[in-house]
Amino acid sequence: MKWLISSTVLLLLLFLSANAQEDGAGWLKRIDDAERVQHMVGEVDQIITTSSGAKRTLSLKSWSAENGDISLMAYTAPPRVKGDKILMREGGDVIWYYMKRRDVTRQFAGHTRKQKVMGSDFSYEDMSQGNMTEDYSAELIGFEDIESISCVKLHLTPTESGPSYDHLLIWACRENALSRKIEYYDSDGLMKTLVLSDIREIEGRKIAFKFVMLNNREGSETAMQYQTVTFASEPEGWIFTKEALDRDVK
């Protein structure tokens, strides 16, 4: 009898565990489907605010295609960085950086993905869109409200080829599956918190226009605010090659 009860409990636990993982994976797929766009062109202002309140504003134009696997960012202001470009391919696994002032292109190795982009609180791997279902395995934690919006809470563990973080906690709207908050952890604990807001509908798609990354350790934050976004036309293929780095891309 004891054997039967133990087996039943064990089977039940296995079933619940498997079901939870399936739910987590299902939710992650929903988030990916809601947020990954086939192609996009946008203009973004990036405002870095230090813990002492000093601000630096950078502006850039970005293009992406192939569901976010390839992207190009071109800085348009301030003059110090104007013309510098970052080309990412393979979901951010391959990165080239072009410095206009020296007319030099350099390939960044994989470890560089952990570095800050232009002194901001976003790292290169944060900026690459990637494929979340390939980069993480998900576990459903539960449901919580974020600013009165009912959200699903997932625990994401990077896969072997995924980002360098230890794990992420993500809250996404239950209704439209758009991420509202992401916490990034390393082995020492919470590093950064990303808050997504200003949800707008553009060309039939809902998208967050504002991303604020809070650096929980340094006290700084970086806000990225889209000025324009369009999904209407696919960028030409050549702008995602090294050739585009020293060209004037419109």
């Binding site: 813990s51 003059p79 350099r106 470890h111 570095q115 360098s164 090294k242």
Partner: protein, 396 residues
């Protein structure tokens, strides 16, 4: 009129003509002016009592003109003015035996930098047609993935203390054809006084997606003038043909690069020069890097001749056969980054190069870097010399 003044007036006139042509044809005001002002303060000190303070202002004005990118003009004019001391004496930096040798040959160790200098760093036209890019004029020809030195770049020299600073352009004609993600065939002609003294270079580059490496093969044929005659110390002009290889990618999560060439020399012995390095960023953001150089052309001993030193000072040629650099870099405050580079060689001398880069406002940066040479007094980094450089740059 001196040759130099004539060249400058010619270049300035050419720049004015080109800008005017663009301005006249421009219906949308497609001329952009940008640049920066930079003030550099340098304090040097050596243990034998040499003490020098120098200060320079630099104004760099960039001009970009053109509609679309079929035909564009890029140029910049640099105005540099030295406000304090402009006289230098190498005696304090050279080993005693070298000073004796130079004095015996009647070669002065004192020199003076131009108090005021105006020059074109870049001034080139870019024409794009049928998948080709043609660039004509004074331009930077930056090849190679090495950090401190680039064996596959025979047209520029790098400042070891500040290797990422912009390089002065070279008059050249460059044609590029690109394909795929990173395929590139590049041909360069650097005109000399005659065809035989002109420089020619070809590079075939590609991105090997399967292994994630940028790979480049280079070939140069130039008139080399980076060495001195061993007796007269006059510049030795000779034909030089170099075959090079450049690799840049990842290995076991680290960034790795290797750049080298084999040089066939008309007068001197043939030699190879190789640079290889790796870098890595730890989870806490600490950046680590190592780069080592092997140069068969240089001495394999700790006793350098006056000729070695003069080639090093005049042409930036490596002085020792082996040189390495170890570097660490970390953001230590918000908007500030600190780094320390240590250089060493096989002669027992070392060189420390601490550096701080700070963003002091939206359009202004400040850089402070130091230099201290330690170890063997006869080594390539002659011990007992120290310097601190402060630089503020304001961009517009």
């Amino acid at each position: 009129m001196s040759n130099r003044r004539f060249h400058f007036r010619f270049q300035t006139l050419a720049l004015v003509v080109v800008i005017s042509v663009f301005a006249m044809n421009s219906k949308c005001g497609c001329i952009e002016i940008s640049g920066y002002y930079e003030n550099t303060l340098l304090q040097e000190y050596t243990e034998d009592g040499y003490d020098n303070l120098s200060n320079a202002s630099k104004l760099r004005v960039n001009i970009d003109a053109g509609q679309g990118d079929e035909l564009t003009f890029t140029g910049n004019v640099n105005f540099i003015s030295h406000h304090l001391n402009v006289n230098y004496d190498l005696k304090s930096y050279l080993p005693e035996t070298v000073i004796v040798d130079l004095t015996r040959k009647g070669i002065p160790t004192e020199f003076m930098v131009e108090k005021n200098r105006i020059f074109l760093d870049n001034a080139y036209l870019t024409l794009r047609f049928s998948g080709m890019r043609l660039r004509a004029g004074r331009q930077q020809l930056s090849w190679g993935s090495g950090y401190g030195i680039n064996p596959t770049d025979l047209f520029h020299r790098k400042d070891m203390l500040d290797p990422t600073y912009e390089k002065e352009g070279v008059n050249a004609l460059r044609l590029d054809h690109n394909w795929g993600i990173g395929g590139n065939l590049s041909g360069i002609i650097v005109p000399g006084r005659k065809l035989s003294s002109s420089g020619y270079a070809l590079k075939l580059g590609t991105h090997a997606s399967k292994i994630g490496y940028d790979i480049g093969l280079t070939i140069h044929h130039i008139e080399d003038s980076t060495s001195l005659d061993s007796e007269s110390y006059e510049i030795l002009n000779q034909q030089r043909t170099a075959l090079g290889l450049d690799l840049n990618g990842s290995l076991f999560g680290m960034g790795v690069w290797m750049e080298g060439n084999f040089n066939l020399m008309e007068v001197e012995s043939n030699f190879s020069r190789i640079v290889t390095g790796f870098d890595y960023t730890l989870e806490n953001g600490l950046y680590l890097m190592f780069e080592g150089m092997y140069d068969e052309r240089s001495q394999n001993s700790d006793s350098y001749t006056a000729r070695d030193w003069m080639e090093y000072i005049q042409f930036g040629e490596p002085i020792s056969r082996y040189r390495y650099m170890v570097g660490i870099k970390q953001s230590f405050l918000e908007l500030a980054e600190g780094s320390l580079f240590i250089f060493g060689g096989n002669d027992g001398s070392y060189f420390l190069n601490p550096r701080v880069d700070v963003s002091i406002s939206q359009n202004a940066d400040m850089t402070i870097f130091g230099a201290a040479s330690l170890g063997d007094a006869e080594g390539q980094f002659t011990s007992g010399s120290y310097s601190v450089t402060g630089r503020i740059s304001v961009y517009f």
